[in-house]
């Protein structure tokens, strides 16, 4: 038995060196390079295809990839703690800023024409197939008796997109900031479950809980593509979700990593992103037949003051607006 286990150990060690399921082509004369891609969880399916496409090109011929996917915040912190990474992509900017502050990503990462963003999405309202509740917009979510699913904004960085979309939509409709804050309070009062991440809340909703789910358009499309019976509505006013990516300053293969980043910004990769439900950032990119409605009241986080200000105003753990709302809700519902 001991020998069997020892053999297993050796086999596992050997396979950890060799295995990465990327179907890489053998290089012709070039030296093989392995790039480490660290990203948040939802673009996994897209990247698997993009990497394969990249390896068909001349620049990507001798490049192998090691991939890691997980919650955006977790991944960002892992890189900060020393997880080797050549190319990183997160679901929101603060996770990138963390690495800039740690000296792992150059501050110039956002100096290109798209400010470092490589895909977009929008916050959408996900309903059961056929939209039986007739959800059209944000106001339907604060009606009495409606159960809204959205993740916990304090455990999921990405969940903050949802709340800021709701808040910003109120401002976009001409309401005041106080009205917007009241809206958030009414909204959160209708939330029976606060999962720890966006994907977990999607699972909760798919599992039968709740009347409407606040999520991202690309998540809804992904769920539909995987056979879930869901529909989604892009409200007239909603926020543009911007996903940043960058090459790290700690990379040992800057040339290849930069080549990959350029590829990701290019036509072929942007089309693959579209196929997976993301809105391309490249002007005139092929949207692969997806229907990406343009909401009349589309705004960005910059319109709300940028992430730094939003985090401080709304999500500060002592006196943020959302913190206060949660506390009041807790006090009123706590026995």
């Amino acid at each position: 038995m001991a020998t069997a286990l020892l053999t297993l150990t050796l086999a596992a060690c050997a396979s950890t060196e060799a295995s990465t399921d990327d179907g890489s082509a053998a290089g012709s004369g070039g030296e093989e390079v392995t790039l480490s891609l660290v990203a948040y969880s939802t673009p996994q399916a897209a990247y698997e295809k993009i990497i394969a496409a990249f390896q068909e090109t001349e620049a990507g011929q001798d490049v192998k990839f090691e991939q890691s996917y997980g919650a955006s915040g977790d991944q960002s912190r892992a890189v900060e703690a020393g997880l080797p990474a050549d190319f990183v992509m997160f679901s929101l900017e603060p996770d990138m800023t963390r690495l800039v502050d740690a000296g792992m990503v150059d501050a110039s990462w956002s100096s290109d024409e798209n400010k470092g963003v490589i895909t977009n999405s929008v916050v959408a309202l996900v309903t059961r197939k056929g939209n039986p509740e007739g959800v059209q917009g944000w106001d339907d979510l604060t009606k009495k008796g409606v159960e809204v699913i959205t993740p916990n904004p304090f455990s999921s960085g990405g969940a903050r997109w949802n709340l800021m979309a709701g808040y910003g939509a109120q401002l976009e409709d001409g309401k005041s900031e106080a009205d917007g804050e009241q809206y958030l309070a009414d909204l959160l009062a209708n939330v029976p479950v606060q999962d720890e991440s966006a994907r977990a809340s999607l699972q909760t909703f798919s599992g039968g809980k709740g009347d409407v789910l606040i999520s991202y358009e690309n998540e809804a499309i992904f769920a539909q593509q995987n056979g879930e019976d869901l529909d989604y509505v892009v409200p007239d006013s909603t926020i543009l979700i911007e996903n940043p990516a960058a090459v790290t300053s700690t990379t040992k293969h800057p040339k290849e990593a930069k080549a990959f980043l350029d590829f990701v910004r290019g036509e072929e990769a942007q089309k693959i992103f579209a196929e997976n439900g993301y809105r391309p950032v490249l002007d005139g990119a092929d949207t692969a037949g997806q229907d990406f409605p343009e909401p009349a009241g589309l705004f960005t986080i910059a319109d709300l003051g940028g992430w730094d200000e939003v985090l401080a105003t709304f999500f500060d753990e002592e006196n943020g607006v959302v913190t206060e709302i949660e506390r009041n809700l807790g006090v009123s519902t706590e026995k």
């Binding site: 304090f154 455990s155 999962d195 720890e196 599992g207 039968g208 949660e326």
Partner: protein
């Protein structure tokens, strides 16, 4: 009453404890201490040190925010309740598995360890399916504090059972038979002969289940709904603090949980000694 009042029936062998001397024992102790230090103590010390990053004032503040207090109260309260339930039910189940002649108890025996082997997400899902909105049994207790307790009971099920079971198995039946032949009833036999012998194991298992309940994360989140101030456990709060780059705050709450667990462990150790002495 045939058994002399106050007489402690002697356990099979009086526990003789020798002082440590000699190379072998010293090496053994050194190994144990080194092992614990490298894997547990030094890392935990680093966590405690991190919690002091903002000084004691910062520590206190992190631990007394409304969110932190609420989750700590829920976690410690629920874990305590779960520990008590486990003490009772775990012993009963161990009894069932060892002393009962029930056919099919092998089936249950095989299942007891499963909560250990299940990834927390699967445990959470299984519980949610049975006790959630679409429950085939019609039992909808999800998204409540009861759900937190149920999830904790699930993950801590094996502890008391598995610590008491081997002791029950090893128990020398002669004394019980002797007592019975002297006219002692089953209750007396249980409380004066069996219980003192399994009390250390019960205490150990209860301590383990409390400690485990306090730290549980995955399976509670799914079934509890994770509502702040209502069903959010401390480990989720710790996770949230980390997400917000408040490592010191997370470490502070973690330290409180450690201290509480340590107190509980020591209390059970004292209880076990007292029980063993009393007979």
């Amino acid at each position: 009453m045939s058994l002399l009042p106050g007489a402690t029936p002697a356990p099979p062998t009086a526990p003789r404890r020798r002082p440590l001397h000699g190379k072998g024992q010293a090496i053994g102790l050194g190994f144990v201490v080194l092992y614990l230090s490298v894997i547990v103590l030094i890392p935990l010390a680093a966590v405690v040190a991190t919690s002091q990053e903002n000084g004691l004032a910062g520590f206190w503040k992190a631990v007394t925010t409304p969110e932190a207090s609420s989750t700590l109260k829920l976690t410690i309260g629920a874990s305590f309740l779960v520990a008590v339930i486990n003490c009772l039910m775990g012993t009963m189940i161990a009894w069932l598995l060892v002393r009962d002649r029930l056919p099919g108890r092998g089936f249950f025996d095989a299942l007891i360890d499963l909560p250990f082997a299940l990834p927390t997400i699967v445990a959470g899902l299984a519980l949610l399916t049975v006790y959630g909105t679409d429950s085939p049994l019609g039992l909808d207790i999800a998204y409540s504090r009861l759900a937190v307790v149920v999830a904790l009971l699930f993950v801590t099920l094996p502890f008391v059972v598995r610590t008491v079971q081997p002791v029950l198995l090893e128990l020398d039946r002669e004394m019980e038979q002797a007592a019975a032949s002297l006219g002692a009833g089953p209750a007396t036999i249980f409380f004066r002969i069996i219980l003192p012998n399994i009390l250390p194991a019960m205490a150990a298992g209860t301590a383990l289940s409390f400690a485990r309940a306090v730290s549980e994360f995955g399976s509670t989140v799914l079934i509890s709904g994770n509502l702040p101030f209502k069903t959010q456990v401390a480990s989720v709060h710790i996770f949230n603090q980390l997400e917000n780059d408040n490592v010191a705050g997370a470490a502070a709450v973690a330290t409180v949980l450690l201290v509480v667990a340590l107190v509980m462990l020591v209390a059970l150790d004292v209880l076990q000694r007292w029980g063993a002495r009393r007979g």
